[in-house]
């Protein structure tokens, strides 16, 4: 009797699972248009470009995750780990995994072994682009099949931030990664709501719903992620109802035009990319603080925001983007071209000065730099722009060939990351530990280091604020504006959450997302 009952229950369970699978895969197809020629590496630990980040977020989970639609680190919630605890000193973290989470493609159940493998892979320079984020990790070990322990060498501002569904925090299948080797970059296996079916080079990535997804089968059957580099063609395809979701331009004209389309919603969301003019403070002409101050006075942020658009940009308020944990608004020098000329004269440049600057030909960055060029010209600073192709730009600015670097970036929303990468002495370009410190500033190293290892959030905030004050006073960089992300969707697309932010730089498609 017992056996019969168990068999019946099993049969019912399989039938339900089978029906769910069939329903999930036979559901509607969501067509997403992206401004790109092709995807690059879909191994999440190598997904560095926007196009790759957007799609891996649909296929993978982290131990924890940002609440969908939010990038607030305070809203981090369980993902593959159903709970966790940390030691009082904050150096030992234990994560308890959900049971029964299945990898795509029959690669079995997620265990602590997969988590250990993933975090070790993400922390190794040869197998990850985000290895530097894991510098503080001492050991990662499986306590039992469903428990993982992480021991840190030193405190980090946000351990949860490192193991969230972002960058190196994604968990992959150990068996798949080892079996597929180099092929894993284009045939990755995760646990997310959607699994990669195939990539057609130059055309699309096709994903199917993961009917066994642990939060429930997705309501959308498939995602067709189309690579359409031409803005005009992509907009026409969206208008022609060949796309349901469209990557938008951070441009007011585009937003206004798209909002006028019938049945269309334009989502503008975080994280904002902060653009800063980084000034090399150890080489002429910017080694003289009066010249840096002159340049800061020459900048008119309000005009820059008007140029790009009020809906999609906002004036920068510090050397850290607003909204990041630890952000502190700073009194930036006001727009005053006369004061700028006066300072230049005091610094020995009564007739103004000319600075040779390397800049990218990427249209949105070049346009903005041309506006900056005009503003500086009014104050007597002439920028001699050497416009180069984007990859060349990245190489040459890292070779310290430009005394002024316009750089726009978004990072994990904790002040430490931004401050360390852009303003810590360890990150100065052309050094063995370089990242993107183009200003050569190191005056706030003590505060940044102390904040990183502090376990007291109030103390951390105080130190980060102090660091921002020091860097702002030294004019290591001139913050310009923050540019938000823009996507358009047809009104029948419901994401299943309120899209205010997304660390994957695109809308998260979840099991709740549906097409009405």
């Amino acid at each position: 009797m017992k056996k019969t009952l168990r068999a019946a229950l099993l049969a019912t369970a399989f039938a339900v699972a089978g029906t769910a699978a069939a329903q999930a895969q036979s559901g509607p197809t969501l067509r997403v248009g992206m401004a790109a020629q092709d995807v690059g590496r879909l191994d999440p630990h190598f997904a560095v470009s926007t196009i790759d980040r957007v799609v891996v977020a649909w296929m993978f989970n982290g131990l924890v995750r940002f609440k969908p639609g939010s990038i607030d680190p305070a809203n981090i919630e369980p993902d593959l780990a159903e709970r966790w605890e940390s030691s009082p000193d904050g150096r030992t973290w234990t994560f308890h995994l959900r049971r029964g989470v299945q990898f795509h493609g029959g690669f079995g159940e997620l265990t602590a072994d997969d988590v250990v493998f993933s975090l070790q892979k993400a922390g190794t320079a040869a197998t990850s682009a985000f290895a530097a984020d894991f510098r503080a990790f001492q050991t990662v070990e499986a306590v039992d099949p469903y428990t993982v322990r992480i021991v840190l060498r030193e405190n980090v501002p946000s351990l949860l931030g490192i193991v969230t569904n972002y960058s190196g925090g994604y968990i992959v299948s150990r068996r798949a990664a080892e079996q597929r080797g180099q092929d894993f970059v284009r045939a990755p296996i995760g646990t997310g709501p959607f699994a990669l079916e195939r990539v057609t080079p130059n055309q699309s990535a096709e994903l199917t719903a993961n009917a066994q997804y642990f939060r429930g089968a997705p309501q959308i059957g498939r995602i067709s992620y189309r690579f359409i580099p031409s803005d005009a063609s992509r907009d026409l395809a969206f208008q022609n109802r060949e796309l349901d979701v469209n990557y938008g331009r951070a441009d007011q004209t585009w937003i206004n035009r798209t909002r006028q389309l019938p049945n269309t919603t334009v989502d503008v969301f975080e994280p904002g990319e902060l653009a800063i003019l980084n000034l090399n403070t150890v080489a002429p002409p910017f080694n003289d603080i009066r010249v840096r101050q002159a340049l800061a006075h020459a900048i008119n942020r309000a005009e820059l925001v008007r140029f790009r658009g009020q809906d999609v940009t906002r004036e920068a308020q510090s050397v850290v983007p607003r909204g990041y944990l630890g952000f502190a608004q700073q009194p930036l020098l006001p727009h005053d071209p006369n004061r700028a000329r006066q300072l230049l004269a005091e610094a020995g440049h009564p007739n103004g000065l000319t600075v040779r600057v390397i800049h990218t030909q990427l249209p949105e960055m070049l346009n903005m730099m041309q506006v900056v060029q005009q503003q500086l010209r009014r104050a007597g600073i002439t920028l001699d722009l050497q416009v180069v192709e984007h990859a060349t730009f990245h190489q040459q600015i890292r070779q310290d060939l430009s005394p002024l670097v316009y750089y726009s970036a978004a990072r994990f929303p904790v002040a430490d990351i931004y401050l360390t990468q852009f303003f810590h002495g360890r990150s100065i370009v052309k050094t063995p530990t370089a990242v993107t410190n183009f200003s050569h500033c190191n005056q706030a190293d003590a505060q940044i280091d102390a904040a990183r290892v502090s376990t007291d959030l109030n103390e951390q905030r105080r130190l980060w604020a102090e660091a921002q004050k020091i860097l702002t006073e030294n004019i290591c960089g001139v913050p310009l504006l923050e540019t938000l992300l823009v996507f358009a969707r047809r009104n029948n697309v419901e994401y299943g959450y309120d899209l205010q932010g997304s660390m994957s730089l695109g809308p998260l498609i979840t099991e709740q997302t549906r097409l009405r």
Partner: protein, 313 residues
């Protein structure tokens, strides 16, 4: 004929070797670090160095060059540095789309350009001739990204006859042909404009020759004089232009591919260049060069067919 063709292909070997060397050197002297492109802007020098080592970019240049030549000569182009996929697979995925567009545009350009050119030549300095010249000038003046967008606005958005996304299912002939129409017309019109002008000039030169006057004096029907005596002798420059243009079409169709959202070799080349995918660029250049050599050889072969004196020489 076969001997002639083989001889032409063999003559292309030094060209191919020179191109291989040039490509190898050029992709390496272009600034831009592939490791940085792959790892993104937060990469540390340590991570970039590790990746360069894994990609073999830290080895001496001559070692890389010998490896590249050896592999290319054995038909092994390696794998893409960015996607990790075999280059031949990447090319095979897009080549049918490129061939479709190239052949269709060539046929369209020739079928439209040759008759219009002949017509204009026969009506020299009359309204038809002037109209043909103005239209061909317009065809040459409109870049694909302008005419293509116009075509999409009219035929896709307004009349909804063709889709905006032109990536066809290769296993569905109907879909393939349907999605080929707009790009073919857009690209083919430019080619037709070229061919119209060349055909007109060649026909004018040919029709003023003594043998045309003789044929007419002998009472040969005018239609035969034009199509057989005139066109046959004017066909060498036309074939030359078509041959050259096919080479240009293979590589330069990138704008058409971008505007009409079609996959193709041109788009892959631009992508590889942007991402500093050295191995992909090298492989693509070898394949592209090989296609050009074949097209040139076929053009030479056609010279021999059209004018037996070429073969004899």
């Amino acid at each position: 004929m076969v001997f002639f063709f083989v001889r032409r292909l063999l003559a292309a070997v030094p060209t191919l070797l020179a191109v291989l060397t040039l490509v190898f050197v050029i992709v390496r002297i272009v600034p831009g670090d592939p490791a940085l492109v792959i790892l993104g802007d937060q990469a540390t020098p340590e991570a970039a160095a590790a990746l360069r080592e894994r990609l073999g970019l830290d080895r001496p240049l001559w070692t890389q060059y010998v490896d590249f030549l050896t592999s290319a000569l054995t038909g092994d182009f390696g794998t893409s540095m960015v996607t990790g996929r075999p280059i031949l697979d990447e090319v095979a995925a897009v080549l049918p789309h490129t061939i479709d567009l190239t052949l269709a545009s060539m046929v369209f350009g020739t079928v439209v350009g040759v008759p219009v050119g002949i017509w204009a030549a026969l009506h020299r300095n009359r309204a038809i001739d002037v109209a043909a010249r103005i239209l061909s000038l317009l065809g040459l003046s409109f870049p694909v990204f302008v005419s293509g967008i116009f075509a999409l606005l009219l035929f896709s958005l307004h009349w909804r006859i063709f889709p905006v996304i032109g990536a066809a299912n290769l296993n569905d002939l109907g879909d393939r042909l349907h999605k080929l129409v707009l790009p073919t017309v857009t690209l083919g019109l430019i080619m037709a404009a070229y061919i119209t002008r060349v055909t007109r000039s060649a026909m004018l030169a040919s029709l003023s020759e003594d043998y045309i006057r003789t044929a007419r004096a002998k009472g040969v029907p005018w239609r035969r004089v034009v199509w057989v005596h005139g066109l046959r002798n004017a066909s060498i420059p036309i074939v030359t232009v078509v041959g050259l243009y096919v080479g240009i079409l293979i590589g330069n169709s990138v704008l058409t591919e971008i505007v009409f959202n079609r996959p193709g070799l041109g788009k892959v080349i631009v992508g590889a260049l942007n991402q500093r995918d050295y191995t992909m660029l090298q492989g693509l250049m070898v394949i592209y060069c090989f296609l050009i050599v074949v097209v040139n050889a076929v053009t030479d072969l056609l010279y021999g067919v059209l004018d037996p004196r070429v073969q004899a020489a």
